[in-house]
């Protein structure tokens, strides 16, 4: 404490942001890094309705490939499905965006690219239109509807807004080499590299991470003040929050297994 936080030498190259953070502890830098990776929401395809798929690729592999396409994200107009009040399993216009794909290969073989996805909301579109999904032979066809939702990287890596988010601690000599003025006398210094997948601008990811961490500390201090300290804690929080039938492992099942072992 006592030292002043400083941010210096912010540079932006494509989707990569670099900055130097000075005057904080490793714990603070690491909390920022971990939040950017796993708790800043971004869009990814979550549910896929396949009407026709005569390609050689199985439906589930295709759905997985669709999920991994980075999508442009709008955090103002969309909310996380678990925070949406619609209560619908398919979601509403605030918690999901629909993309459709209808391609068939007539005459000659063709590759289906991410750019063939037609977004219902023009903002929520693939970051790159040249990601190959599957190759269709003459006569094969693909028709599907994909539901994109906001999600967190801790649930699935497809919701990670950063492809790379690291920091490196540097000493005084290295800082001097970078031309940083050390007259104020700072503590530790970290060079951050934040590379966005393209879903959000990298500087937005940093400010969103601050917002998320701030919210957590706020919630914690509020609960401490109000004395809400006897809440039920389940063993597998994240898994149950997802709750789309795919990952569900309930706390009860886990306890039963333990009893059997005894």
């Amino acid at each position: 404490m006592g030292e002043k936080l400083r941010v210096e030498a912010l540079t932006l190259k494509g989707d990569t942001l670099r900055f130097i953070l000075m005057g904080c502890d490793t714990a603070f830098a690491n909390a920022l890094r971990r939040t950017m990776i796993s708790e800043v929401p971004c869009m990814a395809i979550e549910d896929v309705f396949i009407f026709a798929n005569t390609s050689v690729m199985h439906d589930e592999i295709l759905a997985h490939r669709l999920g991994l396409i980075p999508l442009k994200t709008d955090l103002e107009r969309y909310v996380l499905p678990e925070r949406c009040d619609c209560g619908s399993e398919l979601g509403c216009s605030r918690c999901r965006a629909v993309l459709t794909l209808d391609v068939s290969a007539e005459g000659e073989a063709r590759t289906v690219y991410s750019g063939d996805l037609i977004p219902e909301d023009p903002v929520i579109r693939p970051v790159n239109s040249e990601i190959p999904l599957v190759k269709l032979a003459p006569g094969q066809a693909l028709k599907l509807e994909a539901y994109a939702r906001l999600g967190l990287g801790k649930v699935h890596a497809k919701w990670q807004p950063v492809s790379c988010c690291i920091y490196q601690q540097v000493d005084e000599r290295q800082l001097e080499a970078l031309g940083i003025d050390r007259t104020e006398g700072v503590g530790k210094a970290f060079i951050f590299t934040v590379e966005s997948t393209g879903c959000l601008p990298p500087e937005r990811i940093v400010s969103e991470a601050v917002k998320v961490l701030m919210g957590k500390l706020e919630e914690f201090s509020e609960k401490m003040r109000r004395g809400e300290l006897m809440e039920e804690i389940k063993e597998f929080e994240v898994v149950e929050e997802v709750g789309r039938g795919l990952y569900r492992v309930s706390a009860e099942e886990y306890e039963e297994e333990e009893e059997e072992e005894e």
């Binding site: 936080l5 690491n30 909390a31 939040t35 400010s207 701030m214 804690i233 389940k234």
Partner: protein
Amino acid sequence: MRLRILSREDNSLEIAFGGEGHTLLNLLQNLLLKQKGVKMAGYSKPHPLMDRSILFVNTDGDKPPEVALIEAAEEGKRLLKEFLEEFEKAARQVRRQDA
């Protein structure tokens, strides 16, 4: 975030966090250890697959552990605010390096 007190004796407090892990608890531990009056602070994640962590605080008696925890959270918020201000200031004079 769900909180549950596991034990509360004289000057020590053990509290479980549901839905939180290293990200928040390591930061809180660090902020607690820097505080005057905190004798010991530590956290553990009993199982890496479970979303539950435990934080332990022990103070010298001048201030109760609850107060130390609230102060740690407030200090964290202050740091984040300071960081955001500095970051936005730096972002205004960002240097584009596109080829």
